[in-house]
């Protein structure tokens, strides 16, 4: 009989990047890369598991911005163009490397992967959300929602109306896509501020995740630490905390898996390595070298010297790592079972884009792990939070502590010298949005359109991704531009609405550019 539960969570999110006004837009590649390297490999792994009758449970966030991009027709067209170019490049590579068998085999591997990516994309009607929905309907995948545009809630506490809008727009969007309400939410950046559970409850959400210290530092002290959910005081919304030990096993520099010398090296890409004229058609049209996704080397060691990648050896390593991860969870679960006299719940959340994009072998590792858990042991049971709560309804009542999973565990990543200037403007826009909702409780026609667009612009400006990129301090131009563009559009809408001077042509133009959440209702911002 099992002695504990493991809840694997993949947080899938990308900021909304869609520029119909430009034929080629570099940042749209974030989505294309994630489709080819992360989402399709995950879907393929899920398909194999289902075909082999392997039972499994995975919890996955699909952020509303990610869903919107995956469902967008323009981006789908562009992805096909992108993947076709990659297939063409992989074919050329097969020719070029004819006298280098180790690279020749790798180019065949990429050609195969890119072809599978295209086929899978087409098979699900150019919308991979259909695939994830299928696994949810099969009971294998628990899809949770996120902030509408991944706004960072703790720094929005001063304007709770915006937190509410982030949550309610997300829930409504989820419902329109999946035909039912979401049960859980991944708070963007795992950012929790006491009191926000009230907003989650209003929206019908039953659980959310925090980082370890969110629960460990909660009041009163949690009896079972991070190994059981707690109910938020006053609302009863369940709060589930991440287990740092299992996180470290994957992330950490020393014992972390992705740094293994047999794994593929992320930073060596033919977009940078090959002769300029040859690679030019596959990098940015302006001639700037970028990653193509074809990478021929393994990590090899700490130095700059890299050896060719050996897929079979990497695959064996991924299997070993999956075994190691499971072994450690078994030990952890047995130990905790004795200590707590209760079946512990181990929560292991990861950025979905870690799997495949950064850690090329990640999806393989995950598939091995799921198979091993299903067949090689009986101490751990994979679960989702609703399933766990069904079996273990009685839990302690605690007020979780403010926390995030960002650098140093609080808000510093999004609030430091390089990005703190945005909050004055973001908060002002929130305040103005609230004012507009009060002033125009029920309007129609162009004013209503303008109000809805104002909320879209505000939400888009709030994405934590801009603050994050500004916080890292490199290549910040795009993040600055997005923050400013959306706020400037918002400010103009605010002035125009109040002056009853909405310029319809301009409004149509920004509706076309920032077309996210077609069914948005501005009145949620209150």
């Amino acid at each position: 009989m099992h002695k504990g539960y493991l809840c694997l969570v993949l947080h899938g999110h990308l900021p909304y990047v869609r520029h119909p006004e430009h034929e080629n837009f570099l940042e749209e590649d974030w989505l294309y890369e994630a489709i080819t390297e992360t989402y399709v490999p995950l879907i393929m792994a899920f398909e194999r598991l289902v075909n082999d009758n392997v039972d499994f449970r995975i919890t996955m966030t699909l952020s509303p911005t990610l869903i919107s991009m995956l469902s967008d027709q323009l981006l789908a067209e562009r992805y096909l163009k992108h993947i076709n170019k990659l297939i063409e490049l992989a074919r050329k590579e097969k020719e070029r490397t004819r006298w280098q068998p180790e690279f020749h085999n790798l180019s065949s591997m990429y050609l195969n992967e890119f072809s599978i990516a295209r086929d899978t994309f087409l098979r699900y009607d150019r919308n991979l959300v259909n695939a994830f929905k299928k696994f949810q309907d099969l009971g294998k995948l628990e899809i949770i929602t996120c902030g509408a545009t991944h706004g960072y809630f703790p720094l929005m506490d001063i304007c709770k109306e915006s937190v509410r809008a982030q949550v309610k727009v997300a829930v409504a969007h989820y419902e329109s896509v999946f035909g039912r309400k979401p049960r859980g939410i991944w708070l963007p950046e795992c950012g929790y501020h006491p009191g926000h559970d009230e907003i989650l409850k209003e929206a019908g959400l039953r659980y959310f995740f925090t980082d370890s210290h969110g629960v460990l530092h909660g009041k009163p002290r949690p009896k079972y630490g991070v190994f059981a959910p707690v109910y938020c005081k006053g609302t009863g919304v369940a709060c589930v905390a991440r287990d740092l030990e299992s996180s470290k096993q994957v992330w950490s520099s020393i014992e972390g898996y992705p740094g293994d010398y047999n794994y593929r090296e992320f930073y060596r890409d033919i977009g940078f390595d090959l002769e300029y004229d040859y690679i030019k058609p596959y990098i940015h049209p302006d001639g700037v070298r970028i990653n193509t996704g074809i990478k021929y080397y393994r990590i090899t060691g700490a130095g700059n010297h890299k050896e060719p990648y050996m897929p079979q050896i990497a695959r064996n390593t991924a299997a070993d790592h999956a075994g190691n991860f499971m072994f450690n969870r078994q030990k952890q679960v047995s130990y905790l079972y004795e200590l707590l006299e209760k079946k512990p719940l181990i929560v292991s959340p990861y950025d979905a884009e870690l799997f495949g994009h950064w850690w090329y072998e990640g999806p393989t590792w995950l598939e091995f792990l799921i198979r091993k858990i299903a067949f090689d042991q009986d101490e751990i049971k994979l679960t989702t939070v609703p399933e766990y709560l069904e079996e273990n309804p009685r839990n302690q009542v605690v007020t979780p502590s403010m926390s995030s999973w960002g650098y140093k565990g609080y808000s510093e990543m999004w609030l430091q010298g390089s990005n703190d200037w945005i909050y004055r403007h973001l908060h002002a826009a929130s305040e103005r949005m609230t004012e507009l909702v009060k002033k125009y409780p029920s309007v129609n026609g162009v004013v209503k359109r303008a109000l809805n667009q104002a909320l879209r612009e505000l939400l888009l400006a709030q994405s934590s991704d801009w603050g994050f990129i500004l916080g890292t301090g490199t290549h910040t131009e795009y993040a600055i531009r997005r923050t400013k563009d959306h706020l400037l559009r918002f400010n103009r809408l605010y002035e125009d609405i109040k002056g009853n001077l909405v310029d319809q042509n301009w409004l149509s133009d920004i509706e076309y550019k920032d077309n996210i959440f077609p069914g948005i209702d501005y009145k949620v911002h209150q």
């Binding site: 001063i158 460990l216 002290r221 030990e245 992330w251 302006d286 004055r424």
Partner: protein
């Protein structure tokens, strides 16, 4: 039972003018890097796990490198919104951040009321500890003042003691010691830096057991934001030594050189001919020309190129032989 002790540093004095700890950087300021490094030096914890996560998070946005001139917004965001406002937010258990804006007409009002005194007064942030009370302006447990630059409009405040509620006034400290409030912030509560001291009766749990749980919750216990004292005192996980090393980094590139060779084989024949190169069929362009490009490793390559006419009656073979030797 494990003793639970925690360092308590409290500001007892009623009025302490703290020296500037961290001056706010204006957007785009060159001081930024210095400030950031200062802030990381001041910050009490190193966070290896989350540093790694930042590196991986950055990889997600790997292409944010190029900016096109036409895309840069020509407009700027407003520098003021024409209102009186002071906002206070929590950065972490030890730091708050505040920004504010004062309307011109409000400044004018104080100027005309205070006359000369206005210009001699110091600009001050008064930081009130308002834990567990409804603050009415005069019932704070304690407060301290931070003198700030005249042109500042935001500030990071080092509050030192986690787990309390705070409110901040922006105002003028007159020469006679009077403090004039111009703006008052919202109230915020900072999180604690360790586990709660509240354990309710029904769920009482032996400290020793909780301590073990606590250690496990943080894995190897070295890079979490959990309270330092608590950690040092209690947790000794067998794996702790292995966490000592920082994130694995690429060795810094200094000077370097890389050389590779490729070989281009090209030619032409009748457009409808069948051509093989090293016995592998290739496609011709419409005009009968072809170009092949190979990565050229060291050693000898024999490259027979054979063309056969459409009717299979004629055949030509040309065989370049290429030697590459690298010294």
């Amino acid at each position: 039972m494990v003793q639970l002790k925690r360092k308590k540093i409290e500001v007892k004095t009623k009025k302490v003018v703290k020296k500037v700890i961290k001056k706010k950087a204006f957007p785009g300021s060159k001081k930024l890097k210095v400030l950031n490094s200062l802030s990381s030096r001041l910050s009490p914890k190193k966070d290896v796990l989350r540093e790694q996560e930042v590196a991986i998070g950055t990889a997600k946005f790997s292409h944010a490198k190029v900016m096109f001139a036409q895309d840069i917004s020509k407009q700027e965001l407003p520098s003021t919104y024409g209102w009186n406002k002071m906002a206070l937010v929590v950065r972490d258990p030890w730091w708050l951040y505040t920004y504010w804006e004062v309307k011109e007409s409000t400044w004018d009002k104080f100027k005309s009321e205070l006359k000369d005194e206005f210009y001699k007064a110091r600009r001050v942030l008064r930081v009130y500890d308002v834990s567990n009370i409804i603050f009415n302006g005069s019932n704070a447990h304690k407060f301290f003042d931070l003198e700030i630059r005249e042109d500042a409009f935001n500030w990071y405040i080092d509050i030192g003691t986690p787990g309390k509620s705070w409110c901040v006034d922006f105002g003028l400290l007159l020469r006679d010691g009077r403090f004039i409030t111009i703006l008052r912030s919202n109230v915020v509560e900072t999180p604690t830096d360790g586990p709660s001291w509240i354990t309710d009766e029904e769920w009482m749990i032996p400290d020793e057991m909780f301590a073990r749980l606590y250690g496990m919750g943080f894995g190897l216990g070295k890079s979490s934001p959990a309270g330092g004292v608590w950690r040092k005192g209690i947790i000794s996980s067998p794996g702790i030594a292995s966490m000592a090393s920082p994130v694995k980094k690429q060795a810094p590139r200094s000077f370097w050189l890389e050389v590779n060779c490729e070989l281009i084989v090209y030619g032409a024949t009748e457009p409808d001919a069948k051509v093989t190169v090293q016995n592998k069929a290739i496609a011709l362009r419409r005009d009968g020309t072809f170009t092949l490009r190979f990565a050229l490793p060291d050693g000898k390559q024999v490259i027979p190129v054979k063309a056969v006419s459409k009717d299979n009656l004629e055949e030509r073979v040309i065989t370049p032989i290429v030697n590459r030797e690298t010294k």
